[in-house]
């Protein structure tokens, strides 16, 4: 059962309390502190009072517990089935090497390459398999997850994210030229629609965003400029060191999400052909607000990243006359320009054919 109390926040918080209580009798404030640290909202008060009042008979008045071992949370069948299902996803190869079988029974740790028998799922039926699912509108040019070079680069970048190490990256730019840059990876951004990963980091003179599929090679960078083996931590080469080192060559502070200049577009929507639901679902992943202004007319505001403006323009266009952009004027102009150009396309086409 997916909605079960054993997965709940209350059980998790109580497990934390018991872990401490197994170790030592809880001091008067300690119970409250542990609960506040793990619960939220009204649960803080609920849990504390239930334990103190011995409605949940797990902590005695003196702060001791009858529980003898630190609570372990067993894997349920559902969890094992889900794990088995994700082991069948092609993207799993980014995190671990698949065994010889199509369905690996063991997890092989990516960074070490060493086979560790962690979880034998051979007798477990997956919750779902690739043939149970079809993503029908993902773009065709997704990243090559099965390519060993791509896998190696992914792991190097992810490892550098963990250790805050700088890496030197050789990548192919749009013009087909190789570009070399040093960057401290902060995180990986994944788009389900594009099926692509991007490295986002600091310290690069080029802005710090690199499509992973464009990386030819990347290695952890030593301070003296020499490269270290893939994915190995170089404690000397911390994020701060990277900044210092690069300060003389146009280092740019990019601690915020790249392109994070936030903008707002406002449009009116007429709810015909189920446009309201379609639009609100379509723009659901943005910060947004909807307001009814007439019976079937709505005003919707969407906050977007300025780097994604062109994408947003064409997404607005996809709703046709159901949506009319009202502000800002610069966005209205972008739509208007496209429509004017569309008019000319037909006229030009006709003229050419007639000639």
């Amino acid at each position: 059962m997916m909605f079960h109390e054993i997965y709940g926040s209350y059980y998790q918080t109580v497990a934390h309390v018991l872990r401490a209580a197994v170790d030592h009798p809880l001091a008067p404030n300690e119970l409250k502190e542990i609960i506040t640290g793990h619960a939220f909202g009204e649960s803080e008060w609920n849990i504390e009072s239930a334990l103190r009042e011995e409605r949940w008979q797990l902590i005695r008045k003196d702060g001791t517990t009858p529980i003898r071992k630190k609570p372990t949370c067993p894997l349920t069948l559902l969890e094992k089935r889900w794990l088995k299902a994700i082991l069948m996803d092609p993207r799993i190869q980014l995190f671990m090497d698949a065994g010889c079988d199509a369905i690996p029974d063991f997890i092989k740790i990516a960074d070490t390459g060493e086979l560790i028998e962690v979880l034998d799922l051979s007798d477990v039926e997956p919750l779902f398999s690739p043939e149970d699912i079809r993503v029908f509108d993902r773009y065709d040019d997704g990243d090559p997850y099965e390519n060993p070079v791509y896998q190696r680069n992914f792991r190097t970048v992810l490892s550098a994210c963990r250790t805050h190490s700088s890496i030197v990256v050789d990548s192919m730019n749009r013009k087909g030229r190789i570009r070399t840059e040093t960057v401290v990876p902060e995180y990986l951004e994944y788009s389900e629609k594009d099926d692509k990963f991007r490295l986002v980091g600091t310290g690069s003179r080029y802005g710090g965003m690199i499509n992973l599929a464009r990386i030819i090679r990347c290695k952890v960078c030593e301070e003296d400029g020499m490269w270290k083996e893939d994915g190995e931590k170089n404690p000397k080469n911390s994020k701060e060191d990277g900044k210092k080192k690069l300060s003389g060559e146009g280092w740019k502070e990019t601690t915020e999400r790249k392109g994070s200049g936030s903008r707002m577009v406002e449009f009116e929507l007429i709810d015909q052909r189920n446009a309201l639901e379609r639009a609100l679902l379509h723009f659901a992943h943005f910060e947004k607000e909807a307001e009814r202004i007439e019976r079937n007319r709505y005003r919707i505001r969407v906050r977007y990243d300025k780097d994604d403006e062109t994408e947003l323009v064409i997404r607005v266009l996809s709703f046709g006359p159901m949506i009319r952009v009202t502000a800002p004027e610069v966005f209205v102009d972008l739509i208007r320009k496209r429509l004017i150009r569309q008019k000319h396309c037909f006229l030009k086409n006709l003229t050419e054919k007639n000639v």
Partner: protein, 506 residues
């Protein structure tokens, strides 16, 4: 009944979260036609779980509540919190930890009577010890056996219980990784496991299960010391802030993934999706209850579930199912499914799934039937682009799905497709507005509508001047394409192949 933060069933909360998140413009009065108290309770709960994302707007109709979440900023789906609020009784939580402890400490399997005696001993030192009878214990153990955390074995008349093997494996999973990591960094293995879970809990179906696994892995990290917490409190860290910045709680790990174009609404349908997966894995028929929200009506349908189709461009999920009543395969939106009842096995499952597979080269989205009455509908259009705009051709190539793209010259590309329902392509085709030079639908009504819509867009943006010119333009280019089609006598190879296989003619 007094307000309780915890909930027994997820369906009502699912409806309210959906309303607040997707729509967010309804006033309290619009929700309270059925029950004002239900609305107040649900709003209060959702505010407790997702207060950081909740907003209010005062309008003439009253106060509107909405949820606004930039899923690119939030590294974990905030809706998963609601899944961790299942209600339970005082006895259940007490018994859970005691039972798990008894079984974890036992060197061999235990009978029900032995467990009952031990439970009593655990509780004896409390002022007013709870009493659990054998029947309550049996019921709880049976529940845990179903969940896979306890296993049992019958020996003679007695049933013996022990922790399921998975518990040991899980321990191994989180501990051995840390120990065996050659780097010597004890947290390394767990961090790798957490990275994997961070990613798949957001992108895999039923990702909430990944979120449960993250909670367990984090719990095992032993970061719950009061000293740690005190230190964090000094730094003024708040739960909400830390979560928004990628940390989930006081002992949370650092996440290394951010998600763009990330639709999080599917989290609310996780249980339904899980049921559908179970039915498909077992090749079983199901009875679905679906809601028509416009009419506020619930309908019951007996279907054969065949596949889940997911849109990463709208976040919608669909069940493709064979409908015996209609004798065809059709789609059902998963967010409209209220309940799933798994029935008997269907011997034709593989055959029906194969039929769906054969249909997919002619499905743009999930529709298996257009309005024209034609078995297949044809759509084609041509786009032009300038010197520095070669990416337009590449865009067509990567977004074409079941269509065909041809490069006519350095500045012109042609797209065509034969699909069950050409109306599904219209939103996508509109994204090429500003470069469409020719367009044709085999269904003239669709074509007329497409062109009317563009004229309406011209009007909306004050470009109505030249409307007549535009209309003439559309008419002339339609005639031109018809002539080209007649002269070219083009037959789409895909159509021929399909009709041959299906034995249908047009």
């Amino acid at each position: 009944m007094a307000y309780n933060e915890l909930i027994k069933k997820f369906n009502r909360t699912r409806d309210y979260m959906r309303e607040f998140y997707i729509y967010g413009f309804k006033s309290r009065e619009e929700y309270t036609r059925k029950s004002a108290r239900s609305y107040d309770d649900e709003r209060r709960r959702i505010e407790a779980w997702l207060g950081d994302y909740m907003g209010f707007r005062q309008t003439a109709d009253g106060k509107n509540v909405f949820l606004s979440i930039d899923s690119r900023q939030s590294r974990h789906n905030p809706f998963y919190r609601a899944w961790k609020m299942k209600s339970f009784t005082d006895g259940e939580i007490t018994l859970h930890f005691i039972l798990m402890d008894i079984l974890a400490c036992a060197e061999e399997e235990l009978s029900l009577a032995q467990i009952t005696t031990k439970v009593d001993a655990y509780l004896a030192e409390f002022e007013t010890p709870r009493l659990f009878d054998e029947s309550t214990l049996r019921k709880k153990l049976k529940d845990y056996e179903k969940e896979g955390i306890v296993s049992s074995r019958r020996k003679g008349k007695l049933v013996y219980y022990r922790l399921a093997q998975s518990c040991l494996m899980e321990k191994c999973l989180t501990e051995s990784l840390s120990v065996e990591s050659p780097s010597g960094d004890s947290a390394k293995g767990t961090q790798e496991y957490l990275d994997l879970l961070d990613f798949f809990s957001e992108v895999a179906p039923c990702g909430v299960i990944g979120s449960y696994l993250i909670d367990r892995a984090e719990e095992n990290r032993e970061c719950s010391s009061s000293a740690n917490i005190r230190e964090r409190k000094k730094c003024g860290e708040r739960d909400g802030e830390s979560e928004k910045n990628g940390n989930r709680g006081n002992d949370s790990h650092v996440e290394h993934f951010v998600f763009k174009h990330h639709y999080i609404t599917s989290a609310m349908d996780s249980e339904i999706l899980g049921e559908l997966f179970l039915a498909m894995r077992e090749k079983k028929n199901i009875t679905l209850e679906t809601i028509n929200r416009n009419r506020d009506m619930i309908a019951e349908n007996h279907v054969v579930p065949l596949q889940i189709m997911i849109s990463v461009q709208s976040g919608r999920q669909y069940l493709m199912a064979y409908m015996p009543r209609l004798k065809r395969i059709a789609s059902v939106r998963i967010d409209s499914i209220v309940s799933v009842k798994i029935n008997d096995r269907n011997s034709r499952f593989e055959e029906l799934r194969e039929r769906l597979r054969a249909m997919q080269p002619y499905m743009w989205g999930v529709s298996t039937q257009g309005r024209s009455g034609q078995r297949l509908e044809h759509v084609e259009f041509t786009v032009c682009y300038g010197e520095g705009e070669q990416h337009i051709h590449r865009r067509l190539e990567r977004e074409k799905r079941c269509g065909t793209v041809r490069k006519l010259d350095e500045h012109t590309s042609h797209f065509s497709a034969d699909v069950y329902d050409a109306s599904e392509l219209i939103p996508w085709i509109r994204t090429f507005l500003c470069r469409i030079t020719q367009i044709h639908f085999s269904d003239p009504r669709l074509e007329a509508q497409f062109k009317r819509d563009i004229e309406e867009m011209y009007r909306l943006y004050g470009l109505e001047e030249g409307d007549k010119e535009t209309r003439d333009c559309w008419r002339d280019q339609t005639e031109m394409m018809d002539t080209e089609r007649r002269e070219g006598n083009r037959v789409c190879p895909k159509i021929g192949e399909y009709l041959e296989r299906e034995g249908e003619g047009r």
